[in-house]
């Protein structure tokens, strides 16, 4: 039997088996041809394994589908909840913020339009909120999978976020109905909506990657998320107009760092044509990009200990 290696041995071995670039390409070729998998310790910041992600793409679909299906099973109203939740929130916000507290919509939008003004924000906000909530606990709720079978772990938060899209579609129908009721014209600006939705999705995924990985190690995260989301909602122009942030250019810049500001402003612009996207939209997109890329790397780095820590 080989005598046990000194403590540093493992580290050296780990470096040695990572072949230099030239050798790596030949190995990659071999990997594709003969379907060989190499299992070895990986250290440092791992590159994203897109090949595996692609191979398992159908799993994203199945897990998303499972989440949606299970969520509404044995619920009397079923998918109706996807409609009631934003509608009820809209009613409450309209009564409290608009009628009682006198909060006004964006300048240029009549006060009676507050319900649809609020709904235009609730739509992306509730999508973001639900996606982030599910994503942050997704790894822990799927612990039984993580400890039993291999698949790219990124799939789990990814499908948790994607599962919110169906809800979004249903509440979008409500929005369309409200547009008819309030007489909001259907313009070509609406074609921009998918882009703003994508931004909300990426924002939820970006933060979800960070929080889900952190939650594996620190369960504090799941207690923190509801609070974080409440605070985040008030830091976004959901119930009020972003125009109220007039304290100083400094605070306006800080405000723009919240990607949901860009998303909600975008939705309102697409519907009402107020406050067209400006440089703050780019700031939002930039923040999402930074969070997403860093989240991806953090997630991949922590991925190898998920099964041992969870």
């Amino acid at each position: 039997m080989v005598p046990s290696a000194p403590p540093g041995e493992g580290l050296r071995k780990g470096r040695r088996v990572n072949p230099p670039p030239v050798e790596r390409t030949t190995r990659m070729a071999e990997r594709v041809n003969t379907n060989v998998t190499y299992i070895r310790p990986v250290r440092g910041w791992i590159n994203i394994n897109l090949r595996d992600l692609w191979l398992y793409r159908e799993l994203v679909y199945f897990l998303t589908w499972r989440d949606i299906k299970v969520r509404y099973k044995q619920a009397l109203l079923g998918i109706g909840w996807a409609i009631f939740q934003p509608v009820l929130s809209m009613v409450i916000f309209t009564v409290i913020f608009n009628r009682f507290l006198g909060v006004k919509p964006d300048s240029g939008i009549p006060n009676e339009f507050y319900p649809i003004f609020g709904f235009a924000a609730l739509l992306p906000w509730q999508f973001f909120q639900g996606a982030l909530q599910r994503a942050s606990v997704s790894l822990v709720t799927n612990a039984n999978l993580l400890t039993k079978v291999y698949f790219p772990r990124l799939i789990i938060p990814l499908s948790a976020v994607a599962a919110g899209l169906v809800d979004f579609l249903f509440s979008f129908i409500v929005l369309a109905a409200m547009m008819l009721y309030f007489g909001v014209p259907f313009t070509a600006r609406l074609l921009w909506l998918p882009l703003f939705l994508l931004l909300a999705l990426l924002a939820a995924l970006a933060v979800g990657l960070w929080l889900s990985a952190l939650n594996v190690q620190y369960r504090d995260v799941q207690h923190m998320v509801p609070f974080l989301l409440t605070a985040w909602m008030y830091a976004s122009p959901v119930v009020y107009s972003a125009e109220v942030i007039t304290v100083s250019p400094f605070w306006q810049a800080v405000y723009a760092l919240n990607p949901m500001v860009g998303v909600i402003q975008g939705f309102r612009w697409a519907l009402f044509g107020t406050n067209p996207p400006d440089v703050s939209m780019l700031v939002s997109a930039g923040v999402v990009l930074v969070l997403f890329v860093s989240g991806l790397f953090y997630f991949r780095r922590m991925e190898r200990i998920f099964a041992d820590m969870i």
């Binding site: 290696a5 003969t34 379907n35 299992i39 499972r66 079978v149």
Partner: protein
């Protein structure tokens, strides 16, 4: 192309002790606390669950893996199926690995049988087209045709298991990793699973089979790895490996004591302390006489009261067949009286009546659980002992009697 399916070289997996025995995850407060106490913080204690394990498996080979609980078998399978990454060493896997680490992984009780087949198949790495192609075959194997659109939460446990196994068995991976699936299910199901595994091997695919069931290992595999304390102790033709394992693994003398660090955190508040076998003179022994009344005692501590606790033993043959199971609260009146067992230090003792067991070697396993609530602790191989037939019925003939038990039955011979 070589005919190697798996090549493992110097595989090792290190765990932080805290990660294994204390609570698995940390809270932020603890980590922050450690941050400030860095100066005095002792280096993390670590344990090698697996160390320096090297072996090769040829394509089409059925290789057995045996070892005591905690020897590192599961860690090895987890490394090979990429659930966790090795700390050192590397392995080369030629082809797709399908693991039956636990049947029914990812089954969702609310979904129907049909939906679960697709979901589970996808989790195990099957393409949707592949699942569609094999769908009928899977349903037929599981014998759940009429219930295919019923949520699996309404399935009997047998149906559930059959369906779960059927999906995994039809994965058609080049390498199939099987961990103790045979411990569950009825005899018919086990027969079917073993048959399916035989088919898989005949088709030239590689099987890695982990089990405590020595007869299954002997039947299915030609070669076997024995893992001991995280190291590869032996690789040999199966009969030889089984002999080695049986003689080595059970070297304890009529007593099994659990050290504090051997008890998994999941067992708490139940803490097993010892299992002992005593002869009528009260001596702790590993060899008893069939004709005498002996005692098995389980010593344990409860750190907190447990509702509905039952502490019991399994008696098994060396081949892994269970002969009987018995719990200390089998008597309904006793169970009622001890509905909540207070915290404290206990000794549950039972008598093994005279004229019960045939000569041979037996295994005692222990189990502490609350029915349908939780299994606190289980060790299927806590202790082994030998039974000597001296004085047992029929010993006037020096022949080997078949059967695990040797009761003294009352015979009447009448001339009619």
């Amino acid at each position: 192309m070589s005919d190697i399916a798996i090549r493992a070289s110097h595989l090792g997996k290190q765990y932080r002790l805290g990660a294994l025995y204390e609570q698995r995850y940390r809270t932020l407060r603890e980590s922050l606390g450690n941050l400030f106490r860095r100066g005095e913080a002792k280096s993390h204690e670590t344990i090698w669950a697996l160390r320096d394990v090297s072996f090769e498996v040829r394509q089409g080979q059925v290789l057995g893996v045996i070892g005591r609980n905690g020897a590192g078998k599961s860690t090895l399978l987890k490394l090979l199926s990429r659930v966790t990454e090795p700390t050192e060493g590397e392995a080369e896997i030629h082809g797709r690995v399908g693991s039956l680490l636990e049947v029914g992984t990812g089954f969702h009780p609310e979904l129907t049988g049909r939906e679960n087949i697709f979901l589970n198949g996808a989790i195990l790495g099957m393409r949707r087209s592949e699942i569609e192609r094999k769908f009928d075959e899977i349903v037929a194997f599981a014998e759940v045709e009429q219930f295919i659109d019923t949520p699996v939460k309404r399935y009997s446990s047998g149906m559930y298991l059959r369906l779960a196994f059927a999906v995994a068995a039809h994965l058609e991976p080049e390498i199939l990793v099987v961990d103790e699936v045979l411990a569950v299910g009825d005899a018919e199901f086990q027969r079917k699973c073993l048959g399916k595994m035989g088919d898989v091997a005949r088709e030239g695919r590689t099987v890695l089979f982990v089990s405590h069931n020595m007869s299954a290992i002997l039947r299915l595999t030609e070669e076997t790895l024995v893992i001991e304390k995280g190291r590869l102790a032996l690789r040999a033709p199966t009969p030889q490996a089984v002999d080695y394992y049986l003689s080595r693994g059970f070297a304890r003398e009529g007593e099994r004591i659990w050290e504090a660090d051997e008890v998994p955190a999941s067992a708490l508040p139940f803490r097993p302390l010892a299992v002992r076998l005593r002869n009528p003179r009260g001596e702790v022994v590993n060899s008893i006489r069939s004709a005498e009344t002996n005692t098995i005692e389980v010593e344990y501590a409860l750190d907190a009261p447990i509702t509905g606790l039952r502490v019991g033993i399994y008696l098994m043959s060396m081949r892994g067949e269970t002969i009987f199971t018995s719990f200390d609260t089998d008597d309904p009146q006793v169970f009622e009286r001890l509905a909540v067992r207070p915290a404290g230090h206990y000794l549950s003792r039972c008598t093994l009546p005279a004229d019960l067991l045939n000569e041979g070697r037996f295994v005692i396993g222990i189990n502490a659980s609350s029915y349908r609530v939780r299994r606190y602790f289980q060790d299927e191989q806590a202790l082994t002992f030998t039974v000597d037939a001296t004085g047992a019925p029929g010993t006037q003939w020096p022949e080997t009697r078949l059967g695990a038990v040797r009761p003294r039955l009352e015979w009447k011979i009448e001339a009619v």
